[in-house]
Symmetry: C2
Subunit: 307 residues, 2 copies
């Protein structure tokens, strides 16, 4: 009798099959992959389902490029908490002589990026950052709700196929008084589970923390988890034994309200919350759950994918 394959073997097989079938394509960089037309069509399906799940609230819709203002990220506190994940963009602005030196450095495999100059941009670390400065001032009585998406970057090279360095993040961002924001996040927990179940995914919700940097960061992470500020929806991508966060519901208290001068209608510092969806991760969870042959997926998903 053949032994049941271990979860790890199945996970290795899942990853290899994604590449073998061409759903993902190696680029030589861990976590940076090309995608087939079908894979991106599945991501588009996920995007439509996420959009539909929030459409009844009639959010304002904004889309942002994969680079964002460096000044914004400096102001946001991101570099204090996650310096190791930030992708900073630098450019050559030298003379023709400098250019010849740069090409020699490339040729001799030195670090030719040392002498590059600062630019006004960094890679977007999350979809919601560019929203907060737009909310500055006093919010309307019911606050504001924004539907936002961008391709994000985190410098964490990994062979875990669920841990991409470059990935699309869809978010709903809510800003209002604390009570309104907390009730809104609470209402989304059931919607997240409903959305996942509608896709046939088995999920569970867990208190979690962000990957804060350093020893102080470890304390921040404990505090975040202890207060239940970050809740993650987990699903199997790399096997049942190590489920992956595919969605999260985050409560920032008055962190962004304070930093960006956002005030609730009553004059208090606004609180904010965001519900975030990792579109590629949800797509991967669908392939893991329903198999790599999309023609054999449940009919309602196949029909939605063909829309």
């Amino acid at each position: 009798m053949r032994p049941t394959p271990s979860a790890d073997a199945a996970t290795v097989t899942f990853r290899e099959e994604l590449f073998r079938r061409g759903l993902l394509v190696e680029t030589g960089v861990p976590g940076v992959y090309g995608r087939s037309g079908e894979f991106d069509d599945t991501v588009a399906l996920v995007e439509r389902l996420v959009m539909a799940a929030g459409a009844a609230d009639r959010p304002e819709v904004l889309r942002f490029p994969p680079v964002t203002s460096r000044a914004l990220i400096e102001r946001s506190g991101y570099l204090g908490s996650f310096p190791h994940l930030a992708g900073v963009v630098r450019c050559f602005d030298g003379s023709e002589r400098d250019h010849r030196a740069l090409l020699r450095a490339v040729e001799s495999r030195e670090d030719w990026g040392v002498g590059l100059a600062a630019t006004a941009v960094v890679l977007a670390p999350a979809a919601c950052y560019p929203v907060y400065p737009l909310l500055a001032g006093t919010l309307p009585p019911d606050g504001r709700l924004v539907d936002v998406m961008s391709c994000c970057f985190r410098h964490e090279p990994s062979d875990d196929v669920a841990r991409l360095q470059s990935f699309r993040m869809y978010e709903y961002v809510r800003a209002a008084d604390a009570q309104t924001v907390l009730a809104w996040r609470e209402s989304w927990l059931a919607r997240l589970v409903h959305l996942a179940h509608g896709m046939g995914l088995d999920v569970r919700i867990e208190a979690a923390s962000d990957p804060f940097f350093g020893r102080t960061g470890a304390l921040l992470a404990d505090s975040q988890r202890g207060q239940g500020l970050k809740l993650e929806v987990l699903a199997a991508i790399n096997g049942e034994h190590a489920p992956t966060a595919i969605m999260s519901a985050n409560y920032h208290q008055d962190h962004f309200g304070e930093l960006f001068g956002i005030r609730a209608h009553d004059g208090s510092v606004a609180h904010t919350s965001c519900v975030a969806f990792g579109l590629e991760r949800i797509a991967l969870a669908l392939y893991r759950r329903h198999g790599l042959d999309r023609a054999r997926w449940p009919q309602h998903l196949r029909q939605a994918a063909g829309a």
Copy 2:
């Protein structure tokens, strides 16, 4: 009698109206803008039309993230020709002490990016680069044809609303023997004009050159234009007097075939060509041509946008 506004005044007005109506949203960085849901829906319409224009040829479809392998760009010759446009990604990989120094530099508005480390990625300068290494080896008898898209970056901050630093580029990439590739590019010229006319755009085709760096670059640009290697489809975005390239048809001769070891079926070094579409630029040309109120666009475009 009111004077007729000059073309420049109309151009200023067009830009201002895009922001006033919220189709584009300022981020504080020239050429890096947020977009409304409607603007991105128009970009998606353009994407569908471009895909439909090439679908009969049944291309392989690949999508790539906005970051790409640094080793690939080093090998491609991009840094020799366009060092000033490249966006190089660097990351913090220091200790907690280094982190405190970084935060002090941020606080005192110094260039805190100087000490960052190299990463394996740069911002994608064009959609087609990741395709060439995948074509290495001997091509099938009719060569290969790839439909590819990614969000690209060029460091050229500008208030010209048509000159984005971060923009989506759709490309068809053809690799085969020289004769096949030239005939393919020739056949696309009529299709480009047909596609533009179908969108109601007045266009003209011109020999053009890429923005090569430095004095040697100026010679390369002259040679490229003289040989007709780059043909651009121009349409009005900033007024009729200064039309903008919205599409291009590029013949690389054996440049990429040589660099990436691509051989035609007969064993010769493969030639390559790509036809490229600036999706935001085409969307802007549509707003310029048909007006900022999409409800008043020609019916076939409105219907396609609502699809």
